[in-house]
Symmetry: none
Subunit: 427 residues, 2 copies
C-alpha cells in the first residue's frame, strides 16, 4: 500500500444515477477513513454495468489506492460487482460452498428455503478473503493486491455496510495504520463578511498552515472555515488549537463560533441569556424568519418573548405603533419606519432589545429609488436613544434577500450584546 | 458526439469529499439529461486537485461522452477546474477582458470594487464558448471536442448552476437532440396523510401503469408521488395526463397540487386570494414558521396581513387577548388557549381567518399529561362560531415537530378555504 494511505469510494447501483437518490453510504466510510488519517481522493457512482465498474476498480487499484466499493452484491442478474472486480483483477470467481451452507442456514432460521439464485452471493474472487456479514446474506470481500492497493467489496444496504465496517474495515485499518495518524477537524463560522474580505484576512494562515488543510465554504452572509490537523492524538489537539486561535484572530470579530453545533441564532440566544437580556422582533420582509430561527434554538424561551410579523402598513401601526403618516412621508421601507418598529416592539412588548426589518424582497415592489433588495434594519437597545440602523441592498432572489436580512439582523444583535462594533464599522 | 448521447457528471470541491456534504447539484443535471433522453453512465466527485480533475475530464472526453463539471470556478487559488480542463484538452487559458469588464460592472452595481483576485474567473479555455452567468461572477464554458465528446463547466453555486442550465445546457441539448425520445416526469404532492394510507389508495395505479414508473417520496407530513412517461412528445403528454388524473383521483383530497413549483404554502396563498380572504397568524411553538412560509410566497401580501409570535404567556395575552386565567386553569398548550389565540388574531387584526398553534416542541417542557409533541391547532373563520380545533401528538425532534405543526396548520387552512373535510375527517 502507498503511504500515506489514500482511498476512493465507488458506489454501485443504477438507482444512484437517478434524479432523486444520492449515495449516502460514502459518508459512513468517509468518517472512518478520516479517523485513521486516510485521505479520500475521489468518489464515484457507477450503474449496474460490469464494464464501468471493472474500469473504475482497475484504474484505481493501478494507482495503489485503497478502493472501497459498496453495492451490487445482491443475488439478481443486475448485481455485477463481484464479476466486475474479478475482471479488473484478472482473476476467476469460485462459489464458496461453506458460505452457501451459511446462507442456507440463515434462510432456514427464518423458516424459508434459500432460492437457488442466492448461490451467486457466495461467489468469491480467487484469493480474496471472505468478510462475514452478520446482518444479511451478502458477504463482503477483501483483496490485497501484491503490487499495491487493496479492494473491499461491501453490500449497499446501510445496516449491512455498517456491520462490515465495524467488523472488518476498522480492524484492518487499525492493523495497517495504528490508531495514530488520523485527522481531526475544526471549524469557525463567520457572519456577514464578504468572502473576498475574509480570504484577504486569513491569507497569513494559508502560509502558516498550508492551503490544503484549510477550506472556505460560503453561503449567503455566512462562511464556514474548515481545517484539519494530522499526526498523533496529542499533535492533532495542539495543532487544532493553534489553527483555531490563529484563524479566529485573523478573521476578527465576525467569527461567531468555533463549535460545529453552534448556529448564528444559537449564538444570539446564548449571548442574550448571558446578558440577562430579552428580545422581541418586528418583521416585515422576513415575514417571521428571524423569530423562527431564534425559536428553533431549544431553550430560547428564556430570552425570546415573541414578536410581530407586520406585513401590511396597518399591522405596523396596530402591532408596534408606527405613526401612520410616516408611510406617506417616507414609505414603509425607510429608516424612520424600521426604527419606529424596533422601538415600538421593545416598548410594547417590554423587552431589553427590539429588532426590526423592513425591505423589498421582490420579485415585485421595487422602484428606481428603492430597488428590490433594499432593506432597512433597526435595533433598539436599553440605553437612552440606543438605536442602531443599517440600510443595505442585497443581491439575489427573494429567498436569498430574506436570508441575508435575517443574518444581518442576528449579527447586529450579537455584536451589540457582545459590545462589538456593528457590521460595516471597524473590524 | 456519440449517439445515443451518454453523459457523466463531475462535481469538484474538497468539501464534497468531507464527512458531511454530498453533491446535490448532480440531481439538477440528471433531471435535464433525463428529459432529453441522455443516459447518465457515471458520477464522480474530485477534490480541488488539478491532476485528479484533469484525469477524469480527459478520460471521459476520450470515451466520446458529454462531460458536465460543476464547481471549482471561484476566484481563489484552490479553484482549479479551469486549469484542469485546459490541461485535459491540451489547450491554453486566456483572460477574456470583456468578461472582466462585465464582472467589474456587476461589482460596481452593488457599490463594490472588484477584488483583483476575481480576474481569474475570466480565464477562458482557448476555443471555448463563454456561457454568460446572470446570477454570479463565474461564467460557464463549453468546449465541443472535434473527435467527439463535449465539455461544460458550470459554477457550483446552486442558483448559478440552475441559471446556466436553463440558459445554455437545455438549448444546446435541444439543438443536438430535439425534443423527442426523452422522459417526461409528473408529480403530485400530498399533505398530512400517512404513507401507508397513501400506498393503499394508489395501489391500483401500480397495476395499471407499472410499479417502476411511479415512486413515492415521504418527508414529514408531505409526500411526493413522482411518475414517468416515455415515448414521443405527444405520447408522453397523453400518458402523463392519464397518470396525473388517475393518481389524483386515487389519492383523494389530500392532493394539494400536480405542479412541481407549487408548495403547500403557495397553494394556501392561491386559495386565499381566490376566495378574496385574508389571514393572520398567532404562533407559539412554531415561533413564526407559518408566517415565514406564507410570506416566502411572492405576492402573499395580497392575502397575508401579518401575525403574532406569542412565545410567552404574557405575549399571548398582550398581542391576541388570551384571558390570563386560562393559563392557570388549562395551561398554554390547550384547546382553549389555541382557540382564543386564533379568534383573537382574527378579530384584532381584522382578517377573514386566524390560525393559531400552541404546543410542546421539546426537547424540554413535556409532562406525562402533555408529552413533547403535543400540539393544539385552531382555525377561526368568518362564520358565526366558525372555529375548528385539532389536538395531535407528533413524533420526532424539535425541528420535525415544528415542521409537522406548520404542515397541519396550512392544510387545515387549505381545506377550509376549498370546502373540503378537515384532516382526520372523511377522505
Amino acid at each position: 500500500m502507498m503511504r500515506p494511505m489514500k482511498a476512493v469510494i465507488l458506489a454501485v447501483g443504477s438507482e444512484l444515477l437517478g434524479v432523486d437518490r444520492l449515495d449516502t453510504n460514502s459518508l459512513k466510510l468517509t468518517r472512518v477513513l478520516e479517523r485513521y488519517g486516510v485521505e479520500l481522493v475521489g468518489k464515484a457512482v457507477a450503474g449496474d454495468d460490469e464494464a464501468e465498474i471493472a474500469a473504475e476498480i482497475g484504474r484505481r487499484l493501478g494507482q495503489g489506492l485503497l478502493v472501497l466499493v459498496t453495492g451490487g452484491l445482491g443475488p439478481t442478474a443486475d448485481d455485477c460487482t463481484r464479476a466486475a472486480a474479478a475482471r479488473a483483477l484478472g482473476r476467476g470467481l469460485t462459489i464458496d460452498e461453506a458460505q452457501v451452507e451459511r446462507m442456507r442456514a440463515m434462510f432456514a432460521s427464518f423458516g424459508r428455503k434459500m432460492p437457488e439464485v442466492n448461490r451467486r452471493q457466495a461467489e468469491l474472487i480467487d484469493g480474496a478473503e471472505l468478510l462475514h456479514n452478520p446482518a444479511g446474506t451478502a458477504p463482503g470481500q477483501l483483496v490485497e493486491v501484491p503490487s499495491g492497493g487493496a479492494l473491499f467489496l461491501f453490500p449497499g444496504v446501510p445496516r449491512e455496510l455498517e456491520a462490515l465496517i465495524g467488523l472488518h474495515l476498522e480492524p484492518w485499518l487499525e492493523k495497517k495504520l495504528g490508531k495514530e495518524g488520523g485527522i481531526e477537524r475544526g471549524v469557525i463560522k463567520v457572519a456577514c463578511l464578504p468572502e473576498s474580505v475574509l480570504e484577504e484576512r486569513i491569507a497569513p494562515a494559508y502560509d502558516r498552515f498550508g492551503r490544503a488543510d484549510i477550506s472556505v465554504l460560503a453561503s449567503p452572509s455566512e462562511i464556514r472555515i474548515q481545517f484539519f490537523a494530522r499526526g498523533t492524538a496529542a499533535e492533532r489537539a495542539a495543532r487544532l488549537q493553534e489553527m483555531t486561535s490563529c484563524l479566529t484572530e485573523l478573521a476578527g470579530s465576525a467569527v461567531f463560533t468555533d463549535r460545529e453545533e453552534t448556529t448564528l441564532e444559537s449564538a444570539v440566544v446564548e449571548a442574550l441569556i448571558a446578558a440577562g437580556a430579552t428580545l422581541s422582533t418586528a418583521e416585515s420582509c422576513t415575514g417571521g424568519g428571524i423569530a423562527t430561527r431564534i425559536t428553533s434554538v431549544a431553550g430560547s424561551s428564556a430570552a425570546f418573548a415573541g414578536g410581530a410579523v407586520t406585513y401590511s402598513n396597518e399591522m405596523k401601526t396596530l402591532m408596534v405603533g408606527v405613526p401612520p403618516q410616516l408611510f406617506a412621508e417616507v414609505g414603509a421601507v425607510s429608516r424612520e419606519v424600521a426604527s419606529a418598529m424596533a422601538e415600538g416592539a421593545r416598548q410594547r412588548f417590554g423587552t431589553t432589545y427590539g429588532i426590526a426589518v423592513s425591505g423589498i424582497a421582490g420579485p415585485g415592489g421595487g422602484s428606481p429609488e428603492k430597488p428590490v433588495g433594499t432593506v432597512h434594519l433597526a435595533l433598539a437597545g436599553p440605553g437612552d436613544g440606543d438605536l442602531a440602523h443599517r440600510q443595505v441592498r442585497f443581491p439575489g432572489d427573494r429567498e436569498r434577500i430574506r436570508r441575508m436580512t435575517e443574518q444581518l439582523a442576528l449579527e447586529m444583535l450579537r455584536r451589540s450584546l457582545l459590545g462589538l462594533p456593528l457590521p460595516g464599522e471597524a473590524k
